[in-house]
Amino acid sequence: MVSRWHMKYLIKGGHVIDPANKIDGIFDILICDGKIEKIGKDLGIKRDEVIDAKGKIVAPGFVDMHVHLREPGREDEETVYSGTRAAIKGGFTTVACMPNTEPPTDNPAAANTLRAIIKKDAACNVVIVGTITELRQGLKLTEFLRMKEAGVTAFSDDGSSVDDWALLAGALSEAAAQGLVMIEHCEDKKLSAGGVMNAGFMATKMGLKGISGASEYERVQRNIDLARKKLSGIHIAHVSCKESVDLIRKAKRDGVKVTAETAPHYFALTEDCCAAYDTNTKMNPPLRSKEDVEAVKKGLADGTIDTIATDHAPHTDAEKDVEFDSAPFGIIGLETALSLAVTELVDKKVLSWSELIMKMSANPARILRIEKGALSAGSSADIVIIDPDKEYIYKKDSIGSKSKNSPFIDWKLKAKVTHVFMGGKPCLL
């Protein structure tokens, strides 16, 4: 019997959008032995199975460069197994997992251990992010090159910013010399200390301590300055406020090698959503004002913000069902990212479909320096098929992630992933 791996699949008549290869039209895609064999019109050759993609959008599998898979250490929240299956449901075929696990991925052995788990359990490609400093304490740099050998693709102390300027300057010098990808979580914890939501009238009204935009954008400014000085690239994680967008836009114009991501909740929700003290509206950085949301959208539209990353941050109901002050920051996002982006960005004419797909595939792949995010002949067949008009209610019991901490539960969403090919294999959704 022929194993599924060796079957040929024909994705027929879909609207293929592959920005990296400038493809945007009705085409067939032939998949063979896990790879894309050919893209063309009316590929009527002998094949094993046909997927009718008429009326659907066919795109490179999405790449999410900011995901918390929680393994090792918090397998009650998420695992490589569950998180990568949630990713597939959301159309992601590659995710980058952040190193703030317990213990953190801050040495080659930890990276090797994680790599073994990924090999055993992952349903999609997983890119390992290692820490910039040991234990993410901001005191001593990790062994970048040895970790790279152990399979680490990028570096970040996500959850914390590297406070020490000199230390980060050292890391960026190294990054420039060795071609490493550095991702910074921008937050001055002296400014944000004790804060639980955006500083502003809503926080005042609700009696909660605010987190100012300054705690974010002052670090964005510092990171831009260091990247400029060290001629290094730097990627800014989860941009949430207007000032950050403006700083990054200007830095890009000046030729600084800065890239940036935002998360769906920063363009889909505002601080007003916190009004009922729902802890699924508590994230870091916090939901900001309407002006910030508009600035983030503008940043996406004009290319200031390169990619949409979910910052998928699973927490159990038990952790979240507490007082707003006591709840952990973060929400899951893998399974809602596409729908929110279509509703808030494509339908509202912020981005075209092609631009959106670029920001969810080719751009993050380019930033991570991985060969993903394109439908090139001969490349691994990581493909997502989307019904762009399909409306559905996002129900709690439909969530694939182990944790259910989403503010979008029971929302009516639009655009649904109908098929995912991962390395040429159709995945069950």
Binding site: G200, F201, K205, G207, Y277, D321, V322, E323, F324, S326
Partner: protein, 314 residues
């Protein structure tokens, strides 16, 4: 006040969530209970067979005692639960504690919590009625209601009064509840504090904002002087108690320049010599002890109304 409004809310979480009519209904109901508290036998059978639990996560003598007496004067059974550490440290969450208490077949939970919004979260988790007895910096609705009740009994009205709230506005649930209540009832509210203690955007609540004590006192019919909590986080930016008293402390000298019958309120406990002098606290304009007395009637009204709420059809 007319009594055409029917009370339909399961909970009393804050004055932000109430209409003018609902606030007036509580004050109207409190007036009739006030009469009960002046009788020889200060007890009515209104809540006989009902159980009220005072669930206090923060130390409070005054509010807890007031709620306890209010419940007892309505013939309810009262249980006091004081939890000193936060739920997270204790290992049982607020919701679990609430559900366990509810499993004891009680009717009303009066909750005081150091986290803003805790009563909102609790109220969604239990069918029992929830009354907020003060949450973080958010709201202290019964305190504001008793302040308004006292004001109305002193000055005959709330509409059109100039009321100044003076002190640590940023960290005050009393300030927020008073602002919601007073503005809904048509008073003109001024908040006065050192700039560092004025929270972002407070003017959006419909108040005049100033850091000039003379401006706050100038046209005031009443002032509500807040307790300064120098031990609380966020006050590091203000130099000292003496500096505060010099700039904002209410003294007889300052009162002399005010309207003659200005009503001086304070939610207690007073820091004598910090936010007001002893002469003012004990002086003829002070209604501080009347506030305490009125607190019982107002809390009787709150307990009664939520206990018999006719929930609006959903």
């Amino acid at each position: 006040m007319d009594k055409k409004t029917a009370w339909t809310k399961k909970d009393l979480l804050g004055l932000e969530y109430l209409s003018r009519e609902e606030i007036e209904l509580i004050l109207y109901t409190a007036a009739s209970f006030k009469e009960v508290t002046t009788r020889q036998i200060k007890k009515v059978p209104t809540l006989r067979g009902k159980t009220v639990v005072n669930l206090f996560y923060e130390p409070s003598t005054r509010t807890r005692t007031s709620f306890e007496l209010a419940a007892k004067r309505l013939s309810a059974d009262v249980i006091n639960i004081e939890i000193e550490t936060s739920s997270v440290k204790k290992g049982e969450t607020l919701i679990d504690t609430g559900r366990n208490i509810e499993a004891l077949k009680i009717d009303i939970i009066v909750v005081r919590h150091n986290c803003s919004g805790a009563p909102n979260i609790l109220s969604r988790a239990v069918k029992a009625r929830v009354i907020n007895a003060g949450d973080g910096w958010h709201e202290h609705p019964t305190q504001a209601l008793l302040d308004m009740f006292t004001l109305k009994s002193k000055l005959g009205r709330i509409e059109g009064l100039n009321v100044s709230i003076i002190g640590d506005i940023a960290h005050s649930r009393v300030a927020r509840s008073n602002i919601w209540g007073l503005t809904k009832l048509g008073a003109k509210v001024t908040v006065c504090a050192p700039p560092v203690l004025i929270p972002v955007g407070i003017e959006n609540m419909g108040v005049r904002v100033t850091s000039d004590i003379d401006e706050a006192l100038g046209d005031a019919d009443a002032i509500n002087v807040l307790r300064m909590q120098f031990e609380r986080d966020g006050l590091t930016a203000f130099p000292s108690k003496l500096e505060y008293f010099k700039q904002y402390g209410i003294t007889n000298d300052r009162l002399k320049k005010c309207k003659k019958d200005i009503v001086v309120m304070h939610p207690g406990p007073i820091n004598r010599g910090i936010e007001m002098s002893s002469e003012v606290a004990d002086g003829k304009n002070s209604v501080i002890l009347e506030q305490v007395t009125n607190g019982i009637a107002v809390r009787m009204a709150a307990l009664y109304l939520v206990a018999y709420a006719k929930e609006a059809a959903k």
